[in-house]
Symmetry: C3
């Protein structure tokens, strides 16, 4: 619970209304009750405020909600996220190394870290202050994990990998599995040892059941602030830039380098050994088969400007008809040509 | 082992033959031996019965297998499944909480439940009668799990989620991981806390390594009887209706609502914030980018009627040829036009 | 560390230079330092040797690197892999059954096997010599695991499955989860028990978070030497031949049989109940919807020869323009036809 003034201060917003109002939780506009604060990030939902029971609302400057207590700020969506964090996210308790966790003798665990039962931490591992390992996390030898990290149940970090500060691994994430490399040896394949590592920089988040493969030599690196959704695949020796967003079931093949501020939609795929520039947005199921210059919005396989792809895909259902039309046109042409020959 | 009469009664079928016949197991038509029962669900496989060594066969009414003992029933495939369950699925033993499982003090575990070593069960959890948690299952705090549930090894249910009766989680399923939500904050992203839950209703089954994300606020819900295959992604605040089938590697993005009795093929994808009606069938790798009206069979990206998609894709390989044809047509047209101008 | 002569002998190559040279590690051509050995597998990178600091280089016959110590052999890439294994892959220590592992009474574990804490091994399991189970591996009852296997953390093998020798499971692999089979029963679905098994033959490797489903009856089989990347799905009763390569996020639906020496690109999909011949290469995101004859390179959905697919996809962005062109052509035709009628 918080006073409305307190929340306005938290988000750097301007209070318009009762500073002393008690706010208990955050709720979406069509479910909010008394005691709730809600928000309008998109002006098209403003009309919904008329029937809204919320005690207060977060709005952008220049719009109003008559009769309601307001926090006015430039980015209501961000303010909503910050207030939700403040009101409803519990601080993780410090529990130390709990019974049922197996910690190797040479591992160094900060006193303020929490290791739940069923975790296994290898030799030479370092775990920083206030980091939490939920049950069943496995950390192989010689891994470094920074401060304030949150590793959910069953997530795995293999040997020698390095995890920055405030990194979040959702459940069952695999960091540092072997890259997929084999040398043809007659009809069979000889495994190329993958002796490199993975580096996750600060503020990276990886979704459930996603995989980031270790490098064959050197490193695979996910730069600061980048977020991966569930079931995403990152191949060996890939570099993903800062503040990228990779949506669920997308994949980046080995040795590709991605710039900063890129966004890849669901099931998008980037082939191996490519360079993708900064600020590239690739739509869902888009597929990059060559280098991509920066500052573009692309879709499709092959990639093309998103608007062109929209037009191209609208044409797809008409292909059989186009083909028939073309046959008819040919026939009419032949008739005309014959007619002209006669004359 | 069972008598043939017993099996006929089990499936509500009509016995034609030796009621006392001993049946030991179920086998496919081309591998069945003496003592086996087999089935023919598709009339095109009837001829295979001539060389079949099975002791008995399950058939639909109106067909016959001379010289064989029969169970005649409307749905031979369903009867096969029921007889297979009866003859060959072992009852799970009741083992209670086994040594090596870590159970929080306030968790309430039914006496007939089984918790294998390596499981970790959090505070405030309830686990119903005859439910089984295989090794390494992690249940976070305040989760409710119903009766007769089967949670395979390493499956994970995060805090506050609710699991109905007879729910099956295959190995390494993740229920309740954070939805993928971030508010832009300058060039970076601020994590939107995901404080909602996941509800899996009765008789839901989820395949290996599939993920169902918790809601940002409110709930993500999979309704009664729906089955998800392996590596399927369900985003936050999604609702999937009753008796749906989602085949492997398909995905549903956040805040989309799916009706009842829908079937999505492998690698199919449904974009976010959509409504899909009842009885919609989407073919493998189909992609919904807008709302979908009920009672349709669709394929492709964009979605189109399945038959139209078949025709459109058959045209795809002919595109380069069509393009060349069009160049030729243009040339012939120009020649005709020039010729006519002359005259 | 090794002498150059020793490494030449290891790979069956010819030494040209200082047999006594000390080599410490393997490095890529643009990062190699003194004491490193590097390799050139592709002649287009030969020029890079001019600025390379490596002490020695592995080359194919017929090329030279003046002033450098050489190992000359037919397959430099394979030699690189073998030398990397020799120099930089540590032998796994034999640790036996470690405290914190739960082993059923009737399991038979070879004395030279290693079982880390957090593993759970069921009744009737056999584990062969020199095999290693990393933390959190779960082996259900009556599984057989051969010699020299490496099962990474949290990998799971369900009941009755059989694993050959030198098999590698990356972290969180699921072997033997239930196939996706349900019999319609009115509007709902009745689960078809999956009572078959999975067989992984010798030298198979499976990537992180990949799933191989058990057969409904009989077996799902991955033959000798086949390698699966991360997040790959193999349905029930599938057979994958010898020495195949399945790249990340690809999938094979139930009851399909794949020949030997096939390669499927990322996100490729093979529908169910098909036969794919030997030596078939399917490009990334290709989709097989019918049987595939042997010895082909195919891409697309539907599959077509790879070169034809390249041309077809290059035409895709031009579809809207083609459609407009066709409208114009029709108009010009009509004008010509009208003109000719007049005359």
């Amino acid at each position: 619970m918080a006073k409305l003034q307190q929340l306005a201060d938290l988000v750097g917003g301007e209070l318009k209304g009762d500073a002393d109002l008690d706010i208990f939780q955050v709720a979406p506009i069509d479910q909010a009750q008394q005691g709730d604060i809600t928000f309008v990030a998109n002006p098209k939902y403003l009309a919904k405020l008329n029937n809204c029971q919320a005690s207060a609302v977060i709005l952008a400057p220049g719009v109003d909600a008559p009769g309601m207590d307001l926090i006015v700020c430039k980015n209501p969506y961000l303010a909503f996220a910050k207030i939700l964090t403040f009101l409803q996210v519990l601080k993780r308790p410090i529990k130390g190394v709990m019974p049922g966790a197996w910690i190797a003798d040479s591992a160094v665990i900060d006193k303020t870290a929490t290791i739940y039962p069923g975790c296994v931490v290898g030799e030479g591992v370092t775990i920083g202050a206030s980091s939490t390992l939920y049950p069943g996390v496995v950390i192989y030898d010689d891994v470094t994990i920074g401060q304030d990290c949150l590793l959910h149940a069953q997530s795995i970090v293999r040997e020698n990998c390095r995890i920055g500060d405030r990194v979040i691994l959702q459940p069952a994430v695999v960091i540092g599995s072997d890259g997929f490399g084999f040398a043809p040896d007659g009809d069979s394949y000889y495994k190329i040892p993958q002796v490199g590592i993975v580096v996750l920089e600060d503020d990276v988040e990886i979704g459930s059941n996603s995989c980031v493969d270790r490098a064959v030599l050197g490193e695979t690196r996910i730069r600061r602030g980048t977020k991966l959704d569930n079931l995403v695949q990152i191949g060996h020796n890939v570099v993903v830039g800062e503040d990228c967003i990779l949506v669920s079931q997308s994949g980046v093949a080995g040795s590709t380098t991605i710039g900063n501020h890129c966004t890849f939609g669901g099931q998008a795929a980037i082939a191996g050994h490519l360079k993708v520039g900064d600020n590239v947005m690739i739509g869902g199921r888009g597929g990059a088969t060559g280098d991509v210059a920066p500052n573009q919005i692309l879709s499709g396989l092959p990639l093309m400007p998103h608007k062109q792809w929209l037009r191209a895909t609208m044409t797809l259902p008409k292909l059989p008809e186009m083909r028939k039309d073309m046959q008819k046109i040919k026939k009419r042409l032949e008739e005309l040509e014959a007619l002209l020959k006669e004359k």
